[in-house]
């Protein structure tokens, strides 16, 4: 999922302090699962902002909505008939949702309520960690199912570096050395000899380096 973290309320207040009518829009997908921007977080933020403005003697009306997804036209359309009532939208979706909202409702200011962090997994309740950087050319088949691009601090394709210590990364003792994980799993899969194959220089043009990316699927287009 896309993992996000709630922005500090102070920062959000700074964004929206000059508006009279606000819509706080949550998203039912990733940000709900990682407890940063779902219905519950919308409710808490709305309540906090209402109290803040009231205490400041400002009359600000705040409505709440949580959409199924903010990265799809279909669900974003659900608020079209009332979007004009609002001076601004505070979207608690990931950066994708915030932007899609901004694109769709061109004349309404849209602000982010979360910091979008990464694509990751829920290791345990309350702990999420990165697993993918969307490089556009997956190499997991060659690295025993563990991604050195997202999980090695130096994204080494031929690791580990000399800083790997007792299975941990040199930059942080709580961080697993991705290459230690790769090696352990290669052994488990009886493929340790593959370690000595040199991973060729990567074509990063399908990654961020190649500019904003787009997938076009003629077979599924209408």
């Amino acid at each position: 999922m896309i993992v996000a973290e709630k922005k500090p309320i102070e920062e959000i207040i700074d964004y929206v302090k000059d508006f009279q009518k606000l819509l706080i829009a949550g998203c039912n997908e990733c940000v709900t699962v990682c407890e940063a921007g779902g219905k519950k977080e919308v409710g808490i933020l709305a309540s906090a902002l209402r109290m803040y403005f009231m205490n400041e003697g400002k009359k600000v009306e705040i409505d709440e909505v949580t959409l199924e997804r903010q990265c799809d036209h279909e669900y974003l359309e659900e608020i079209r008939d009332r979007i004009d009532q609002y001076d601004a939208v505070l979207s608690l979706a990931c950066g994708v949702g915030v932007q899609f909202m901004a694109e769709k409702y061109f004349s309404t200011p849209v602000f982010p309520g979360v910091n979008t962090c990464f694509m990751g997994a829920a290791e345990e309740r309350g702990v999420w960690s990165e697993r993918c950087q969307g490089c556009g050319q997956c190499i997991l088949g060659k690295t025993a199912g563990i991604c050195p691009i997202s999980r090695c601090a130096k994204r080494l394709l031929n690791g580990p570096c000399g800083g790997s210590t007792k299975g941990k990364c040199e930059i942080n003792k709580d961080l697993d050395c991705a290459w230690q994980l790769i090696i352990d799993r290669l052994k488990e899969l009886d493929r340790f000899d593959e370690y000595e194959q040199i991973m060729p220089i990567k074509d990063w043009s399908t990654e961020r380096a190649g500019g904003p990316r787009k997938v076009v699927r003629e077979d599924v287009r209408l």
Partner: protein, 117 residues
């Protein structure tokens, strides 16, 4: 056992303090409560293992939010006691009431009056 405690307290019963959410605490203030306190079982004695510990975390988060928005985090507290300890319950009620009296009314009340005027 008949023990008196301040009549200004409104009790919301829950099966376990683990049910308390931040939004419940915030809503209480939004609706004009001057203070909120959560009374859970003793730590380590939760029937549902960690309900009271979860409650404490949520109380702490609510404190932070209330501090940020100018209502004051010291209006929310978490207490723990044994479920059969009636005298302690009354003691906490008195203590909490005194704390809140010292802090004065929920600032939103004044703000509301001003805005209405």
């Amino acid at each position: 056992m008949r023990i008196n405690y301040p009549g200004t307290i409104r009790i919301v019963r829950l099966p376990c303090t683990g049910k308390v959410d931040i939004i419940h605490i915030l809503r209480a203030f939004e609706k004009g409560a001057d203070g909120v306190y959560v009374v859970g079982c003793l730590e380590g004695e939760c029937r549902f293992e960690n309900g009271n510990l979860q409650a404490r975390k949520r109380v702490d988060q609510a404190k932070k939010i209330l501090d940020t928005i100018g209502i004051g985090g010291e209006r929310v507290w978490m207490y723990n006691l044994s479920s059969s300890d009636g005298p302690r319950f009354a003691e906490y009620a008195v203590e909490m009431t005194e704390k809140i009296k010292e802090l004065g009314p929920n600032p939103l009340k004044k703000a509301k009056e001003k805005m209405a005027a």
